[in-house]
């Protein structure tokens, strides 16, 4: 079960990084690209903050095992990369 979650997370994260790199190389050099990347970074930052807050509460009040923390951190990073990729796709169409 855990391996399946890790695999899905790795695939999603790889997709997110792929979208980000592809956009940075193809369109991210000029001012519109930089404006899009700035907006996307704002969205990703929100998820980083939320994930950090969640982990503080999770570790403080729920006394999780190492495996649970590892899984939640994997999911967190996956969420950050995916949110980054989705924001890029949305902003590309909007802007």
């Amino acid at each position: 079960m855990m391996i399946a979650i890790y695999l899905i997370c790795i695939l999603l994260a790889a997709y997110g990084i792929g979208v980000y790199i592809n956009f940075t190389v193809s369109e991210g050099k000029d001012e519109r690209g930089k404006a899009i990347l700035a907006k996307v970074a704002q969205v990703a930052f929100v998820f980083i903050c939320l994930g950090f807050s969640f982990h503080l509460i999770f570790i403080e009040f729920f006394s999780p095992t190492v495996e649970q923390v590892r899984t939640s951190m994997t999911l967190w990073m996956c969420l950050v990369f995916v949110s980054n990729a989705i924001s890029i796709i949305i902003q590309r169409k909007k802007m």
């Binding site: 369109e27 050099k29 000029d30 001012e31 519109r32 802007m95």
Partner: protein, 76 residues
Amino acid sequence: MKKSERVLSNNLYLLRAEKRWTQKYVAEQLGVTRQTIHSLEANKYNPSLVLAFDISQLYEKSIDEIFSYEKKGERE
């Protein structure tokens, strides 16, 4: 107090069509991507002041002739 929504519009598409330039050519001249030119022409993206000056030089028109800052509507 009334606030009016102002929108920056442009006639870049018409100017480009007059000159029979492609989006790719304009993008190369301005040092931006073709997608940026498309977004500018579709009024989806407002250019920076530097890019606006570059555009005005490329088309040999003043910024006022290319861009207009209009009131779209009024709301309270």
